[in-house]
Subunit: 426 residues, 2 copies
């Protein structure tokens, strides 16, 4: 086997693909390519064209995932499958690499196999998972939830503030408004699900390490918090008479932060709590706010940390509600438990990195990923690559083409090892 | 003189006018008729039609005010003027009466004078003052500021988040993009400026009183507060590493509230502090907020209260900035000092209420009004009428047609008294 990663992957081709995808953005708010937006749909068109150029058969599944299929050497109906995927949607004002790096790396694997005329004993599906980022319906990982049969009727019937229903949006992208609520029928044929992603933290960079092999992905719970006070004129509503929903919400926000810091301290920092989205009604400078809606995002490697956080927050919310004369309601809007990555695949990824002379470490993911849901129905694993200063979900997000190429080479080597069933125990 | 208010004013006609103006609203967010919006422009068209039906000569002045002129008995160039006005713009999700009651009452005065064929020794201008409510440019009372020569170049050049420049918006409504920065040339001819308004508090209702004669209007200062942190991924940015701008902003909000409560207590409640508008960037549920912009609205009858509040808030902001690793900036965006209403006009209004057998009390305004700015160039005074539960700037806002008719009758009686120069000392 060749020991140079550039045998498997081409940094220049990677650079071009990343730049092209970055061009599909809201012009005045780079890099913003929200799921279902015109920019997203344009990027999908381009990606489908690239998939076809690489010889892949393309279709959109019922959950709105774009799938490019490379057939196996023999087309027996019992054929096995490998999924390699990530996503091309972004958060608002996000970066150029979160998701995109994984899609581009997956395509590189196909380019390598095509160039070397390699036939495999399994088909490969390159998947652009629909809407991995958290959206206005309070839901992330739309496409991978669908594959695992985890999209519920309640989720599909959610409408955003403009009245757009999630199910109809999925239909608009080529899926079904009511995709089946069960896992892929061929789940038992999937021998591996693989995803490359930027680390979104700085451990690889700090340790000057090429490859992170992910051990587990934390559980993510999201709660809608509604604070109801009473709107009034800012000049005539006397201070003691106020039921200011923003004041009560602010106390919830600082409490969530300070409780989060304390719990993270106890849990060796495997816990984060964020209120990143807030909508104030009516949000006029001369009006005492009457209602506030927020989303609380919790990520924990240990469920007891999350439970302890919620217990403390809810106790404080009762006090805040009383002191600020506002009603506070919390409702769970999504939940994913901790996902452990497949042990054999992890060892194969480490083995592949070794065989390419690439340094590697095991690490836990901070962020959630589509592999959380795929891991419920098939063996799944992830490769992390370094990103500058650990920054992500912001325009400063940066991974080098070489880093993506190294990660892609590890994927390609792992595919070859799976095909030849070579030993993976070190 | 007749002692029944219905001689001067017709509740049914008032009711019809209020309902018609209420119909010009954003459909899904009643009652919203923001200055310069399509709804606002439609309402202006209807109002101009009503002005013309009442025999008024109409024009829009350089500051965008809609003015309906009723000529004096003689048209000597030295003729005197009386202004009666209010506004038809609303806040977001506001009510049907704030401003509208004053416009409708002013029209009632004209209907009365026309019906009785009364000629006056002064002309009357009915004015729909442009944009009285606080707008996205951080400015209220656009039209009355213009009349008093208080619209500055800096104000006119402000742009909102969508890039709309205030001066160009004023031009779009029929004004000038750079109206003259000096008071109306004929200011010395104005013998009275009068405005009827709902009280926006519950003192009249609680005391079962028909009429409030306003003694003074508090000073209003508004500050833009910018909080700058660092955006990051909600899953991978560890709690101790965060520079969450929303957390810092939340602490500013609760501090403003609690400091406001304490200062109001010391100042016998003639002080209010509100943060009603907040814009979070990027406002995504999976992103640590990077920047927050807010507007602080302060209203004080005593300037020392405002100064003490600002001193305490700024001291706390330095601490918050340090503890939350965010930068906090405060900038004054508008300021109006306390306005005292004209003594003679106040006495004439009380005298008119007495002569109509209407109960009346003197009271201080909580809210700001266009008469603040008019009072800088001419004698100005205000009539308050009761509104249900003191609620305003919300859809529940309610004043009865009879209450408006009573206030309008007081205006009409005062006009007649000014015309005949009858004695007003009780």
């Amino acid at each position: 086997m060749k020991k140079d990663f550039t045998y498997y992957s081409d940094p220049q081709r990677i650079q071009r693909a990343v730049k092209t995808l970055a061009s599909f953005t809201e012009a005045d708010r780079p890099f913003t390519r929200l799921v279902f937006s015109p920019e997203f749909k344009q990027a999908r068109q381009w990606l489908e064209f690239e998939f076809r150029k690489a010889g892949l058969d393309c279709h959109v599944d019922k959950g709105g995932n774009l799938i490019g299929l490379r057939q196996a050497a023999d087309d027996a109906s019992e054929q096995k499958k490998v999924i390699i995927g990530s996503h091309i949607d972004t958060v608002s004002a996000g970066g150029q690499f979160d998701g995109v790096a994984g899609i581009v790396a997956a395509l590189e694997v196909i380019h390598f196999l095509n160039q070397q005329n390699i036939s495999l004993p399994f088909s490969i599906e390159i998947v652009d998972f629909l809407g991995e980022e958290l959206n206005v319906w309070g839901l992330s990982c739309l496409g991978s939830r669908h594959m695992a049969g985890l999209l519920t009727d309640e989720m599909l019937s959610r409408t955003d503030q403009e009245g757009r229903q999630l199910g109809l949006e999925i239909e608009s992208i080529g899926g079904k408004r009511q995709p089946p609520r069960k896992p892929r029928q061929d789940a038992d044929k999937i021998v591996a699900c693989l995803e490359l992603h930027i680390e979104q933290a700085d451990r690889l960079e700090t340790n000057q390490t090429d490859i992170g092999v992910v051990t587990d992905i934390p559980g993510i719970s999201r709660y809608a918090i509604k604070v109801m006070g009473r709107a009034g004129h800012s000049g005539t509503t006397r201070m003691p008479d106020r039921q200011d929903a923003l004041v009560a919400a602010s106390e919830v926000i600082t409490t969530a932060q300070d409780t989060g810091i304390a719990i993270a301290e106890q849990d060796n920092k495997h816990f984060v709590a964020t209120i990143g989205r807030i909508d104030v009604y009516p949000n006029g400078a001369a009006t005492v706010p009457g209602e506030v809606n927020m989303v609380l995002d919790l990520r924990a490697s240990h469920e007891h940390s999350r439970d302890e956080f919620l217990k403390q927050l809810q106790t404080r919310c009762m006090l805040i509600s009383k002191n600020r004369s506002c009603k506070i309601e919390m409702e769970l809007i999504s939940n994913a438990s901790v996902a452990v990555m497949d042990n054999e695949l992890r060892q194969r990824l480490s083995h592949a990195a070794n065989s390419l002379n690439l340094s590697h470490i095991d690490l836990s993911s901070g962020a959630g990923h589509d592999m959380v849901h795929l891991s419920r129905i098939a063996p799944a694993a992830m490769v992390f690559i370094p990103c500058k200063d650990g920054l992500s979900h912001c325009p400063e997000e940066l991974a080098t083409p070489e880093a993506i190429a190294k990660g892609s080479a590890v994927l390609a080597r792992t595919i070859l090892a799976l095909a030849s069933n070579e030993p993976y125990n070190e």
